[in-house]
Assembly symmetry: C2
């Protein structure tokens, strides 16, 4: 992290109040300046151009799976992963300051958040559910419309951000709803305090090639904690593999495994080393 | 496929016109009866209860990645995969029968389809973009509203289904937008004509366990065509692996590999064997 504290600004996708901004504050502290971006592409571009010192992007969610677009962008760009953040996703029903849950007739949110709150919403079959672009944006919409019978589903912090009221907290169906984020930076240096490393590789298109590539980790006693395939965007039905391993890139076992992997794979790209994030409790 | 032709009915998620229904027709032919379901859960339930003879569910998309909820449901249920379908996703701008593109001021669609048509939509910055639950549903919405300045983004077949007009065909940003579907059935028998097999396994939680499990495929000369990890819903930070391999389950190499895998893995679940689908051309 090569920026002075006062110059730091962290780009994220969404508007103020978004879960991604929660992740920014969790990693950098409440005082950090944030830069809301319309698209994931804009987060990467802001960090590349120096408009932001860092970016924070979601890479996987425990219920919805990996965020494909972000994983593609990590491969396309040369930014370095310097941190990992895990946040517990707790949806809240949010309304105008002086209303009660009985006053509500219409609820806005992203289709995914509406789906993740289905069990709660099924208790109010008379409510109209209206899809919107994102969770935080749905709070902004109901505030601007000013209709007190309308509510939105978003994070607790969004309610505070827009001066709105939490009518009901923790309305998500599952209490195993976690999102994992990467902190990205335009730097060539690997975070020296990392105890976990992420990389991407592609295999040459022969039977057993993936097994041969994974063999390097077993041979060097390096523990794989994640392995995921993504189709190659440039070649139909060939795959790239996203791998997380225990240990810093400078650890002799890790560097030994990578040295062997480079010889067996079609390409290898190190995303970065970083400190492992702890699984947060629901109370956070 | 154990149902008589006349009794067949295929469940899919969405309303008539959905891309999933395109996949149904591609596999079963245009004459098949279809059963629209609100949620993926309902597709699995319909097949389980016998309301439908088969279900068709999306498992991965070339741009958006795997469909996490469907992969979880394949693991939770005991339905058998008997077929694979790949369709090319071609978004169309759809309006009322007697309008031209110049008349449009507002466009409805699922946020993903709006995002996938961003390049085209950026030519019309004055258009209001309105998110909706699904692509086919957005055509139904504009038809019911009857406002001729409104358009929707969905498949060509949806326009036909609702008697609406295609204003512009193929407006998606990428021409590598494919969705892969599984055909599921309540049967204990493996499709004898399959040349590809899908299965799920979990590793015992020890270093090198994944490598040891994958070794069975290399040792038996079985080619892995896909490998994807998903978090275990019941155990935080443990993973299950979704694997596709070349060959039918009855092939001696495949059955040999599976026999060895069962000894090394925490569990193994065979999803089914099926005929490999061809990559469709854009013209379809």
């Amino acid at each position: 992290m090569n920026s002075a504290g006062t110059e730091r600004r962290v780009a994220f996708q969404g508007i103020h109040g978004a879960y991604s901004e929660d992740a920014v504050y969790k990693f950098f502290g409440e005082g950090i300046r944030t830069l809301p971006c319309a698209e994931f592409e804009d987060v990467f571009a802001s960090v590349n151009k120096g408009d932001a010192s860092h970016g924070v992007v979601p890479v996987e969610n425990s219920l919805e799976g990996s965020v494909a677009r972000v994983n593609d962008l990590l491969l396309e760009h040369d930014l370095t992963v310097v941190g990992e953040i895990i946040i517990f996703v707790k949806h809240c029903l949010i309304g105008h300051p002086d209303v009660e849950i009985e006053d509500i007739t219409r609820v806005y949110s992203h289709p995914q958040a509406l789906g993740q709150s289905r069990t709660f919403l099924s208790r109010y079959p008379q409510w109209e559910k209206v899809p919107s672009y994102d969770t935080a944006g749905s709070v902004k919409i109901i505030k601007e419309r000013g209709d007190k019978s309308e509510a939105a589903i978003a994070s607790a912090r969004t309610a505070k951000e827009y001066g709105m009221k939490i009518l009901k907290e923790g309305i998500q169906n599952s209490h195993q709803n976690y999102t994992r984020f990467f902190v990205i930076e335009k730097t060539a240096s690997i975070n020296p305090r990392g105890d976990k490393t992420s990389l991407v590789f592609a295999t040459k298109n022969v039977a057993g090639a993936l097994y041969a590539c994974l063999g390097v980790f077993a041979e060097h006693s390096v523990n794989l904690t994640k392995l995921e395939s993504r189709p190659r965007r440039d070649r139909a039905w060939e795959y790239v593999f996203y791998v997380d391993i225990d240990g810093h890139l400078d650890h002799p076992n890790v560097s030994g495994a990578i040295t062997d992997l480079v010889r067996r794979a079609s390409f290898v790209k190190i995303l970065g080393s970083y400190r492992r994030a702890e699984l947060p409790s629901e109370q956070e």
